[in-house]
Amino acid sequence: MTALSILNLVPEPGRISGGQILFKNRDVVSMTSSELHEYRGGDVAMIFQDPMTSLNPVLRVGFQIEEAMRAHSRFDKRQAKARVIPLLERVRIPSPKQRARDFPFQFSGGMRQRAMIAMGLANEPSLLIADEPTTALDVTVQAQILELLKELNRELGTAIILISHNVAVISSLCTRVMVMYAGRIVESGPTRQVFEHPEHPYTWSLLRSVPRVDERRHERLISIQGMPPDLSRLPTGCTFHPRCQFKVERCLREEPPLEEVAADQEARCWVLMRNVSKESQAART
């Protein structure tokens, strides 16, 4: 939903009820519809978890990529046509000339996601929002897509917002990470720092709740008790407190602010994991 807000695409009856979204110093919330048209798909592109439902099943893949450029004014008709094959090549689709004439159902899952990425890149956006781009894919295909995204980021300088529940995927691709819980950022900072020294109990538990392929000995997983809260009836105080194993009395009453806890690292917690002794951390596992 945060990503949809960035694109000013919040579905009715929802709306952006306050605040500002600045993209290159322009406020997205107050853009006119023609400005928004250029912005969406032009400056910012989005790719989704399930590429089959985001591609039109009855149009050829090449045509759909061309269409993405024709909808915007950066490339004229001839340029748009000429760019399709190089774009497919760019995302490593084999024999792109033939493949451009295929329909989406003739593509495998990984290739569809590549085609989506090609479409997203068509107008040379400065930001690519990737919403769980590899969740529906097998690990070997996931590895290919992650490498591709890294390459685009490095070579074209495209900024990427990667939305994922998979902490290892985040670790693989992201320089900075923001952890969200119940509609709020609860922790943010450089990925390495946050993953090595998580300060919010939610981040700490999340990192220990998934088995690691590099685990040396069998450790019991931390299970986060309970369920994610109902967003229309959030708990008082810190929204994580009903599931938090380190809460203090204050957490039930007052919501903590997002505060700097180390250089570049912010967390929204009254307790902070650094103040929890190793023994009581271990006791919760």
């Binding site: 290739m111 290919q144 995927v169 670790s171 993953f195 392929v213 997983l221 299970s223 369920m227």
Partner: protein, 336 residues
């Protein structure tokens, strides 16, 4: 006829399950036997020891779920033998097979689709007992509450319907239903992949606790190698209908011999950013071939980074012992 309702740990030596040269082909269209067949499982042999967890990993379409179903006899094998507790299942029919099913149960991936929305949770969990005519009404109720409690469910909720429960709780209901008959084998087919990450650990921990308490044997089918490593004693890797490698969980991860296993392992990102920065994924070329017409020789040769010709394209490597308790089907094991 009343039978005992207590959970009896299985005390058995030798493998609990023996799968020998099992094939499962699905005919495709064409009719009159002219169509080609999807070779979902194409000659598979392995054992599951009593009390162990065998992890079965592979990518979508490799035949791992079909294999689980064939072991459960939910689908008949095209060819081959499946022995459970020393008895041949593929020859059994009707009531005989029904009786064996008390000892083997399955948990499904989707806890939304696998529970009847019109039955109360109490009825869902009690249904296997009823099917086998075990106990009277009161005994069954007692047993249902007992099992629900063991699975972390509130035993007073027997009158509720599945829609009143969350995904994680529904999966617990599915586990309770599997457990109520005191099985020795549980086939868990992707039991956590449909659940929210924060809930997955609860189910993994529950399955581990239940195994310790009731001496269960698991066949744990999953595509997620990190989970499989975490829960399994031994791991079997499948590619295109065949098992390519089996070894202890530790050995498979530390010393993979088949190039496909190595590729799979190298594909998984590490959570630790330090380790992740040094990971070198081996990227596969091309797409997985069709199981209707799998490649000749080694099935992996079309995508294998170390395939040598002509041997890999012509001679199918047998699944052989390469080290203690470690089998692999490769002409050049450990060379990648």
């Amino acid at each position: 006829m009343k039978q005992q309702l207590e959970i009896v740990p299985s005390e058995r030596v030798g493998p609990l399950v023996s799968v020998t040269d099992v094939y499962k082909y699905f005919p495709t269209g064409g009719g009159f036997g002219r169509g080609a067949a999807v070779k979902a499982v194409d000659g598979v042999t392995f054992d599951i020891a009593a009390g162990e967890t065998l992890g079965l990993v592979g990518e979508s379409g490799c035949g791992k779920s079909t294999l689980g179903r064939v072991i459960m006899q939910l689908q008949p094998a095209t060819k081959g033998s499946v022995k459970f507790e020393g008895r041949e299942l593929t020859k059994m029919r009707g009531n005989e097979l029904r009786q064996v099913r008390q000892r083997m149960q399955i948990i499904f991936q989707d806890p939304y689709a696998s529970l009847n929305p019109r039955m109360t949770v109490g009825d869902i969990v009690a249904e296997p007992l009823k099917n086998f005519g075990l106990g009277n009404k009161r005994e069954r109720e007692k047993r249902v509450q007992e099992v629900m409690k063991v699975c972390g469910l509130n035993p007073n909720f027997t009158n509720r319907y599945p829609h009143e429960f969350s995904g994680g709780q529904r999966q617990r209901i599915g586990i309770a239903r599997a457990l109520v008959l005191t099985p020795s084998l549980i086939v868990a087919d992707e039991p956590i992949s449909a659940l929210d990450v924060s809930i997955q650990a609860q189910i993994v921990n529950l399955l581990e606790d239940l195994q310790n308490e009731f001496k269960l044997t698991y066949l744990f089918i999953a595509h997620d190698l990190s989970v499989v490593r975490h829960v399994s004693d031994r791991v079997a890797v499948m590619y295109l209908g065949k098992i390519v490698e089996v070894a202890s969980s530790r050995e498979v991860y530390d010393n993979p011999l088949h190039p496909y296993t190595k590729v799979l392992l190298s594909s998984i990102p590490y959570t630790d950013p330090e380790l992740e920065a040094h990971r070198k994924p081996i990227l596969l070329k091309g797409e997985i071939p069709s199981p209707i017409n799998p490649p000749k020789g080694c099935r992996f040769h079309t995508r294998c980074p170390i395939a040598q010709f002509p041997i890999c394209g012509e001679v199918e490597p047998p699944l052989e012992k390469k080290a203690d308790g470690h089998v692999a089907a490769c002409h050049f094991p450990g060379k990648l």
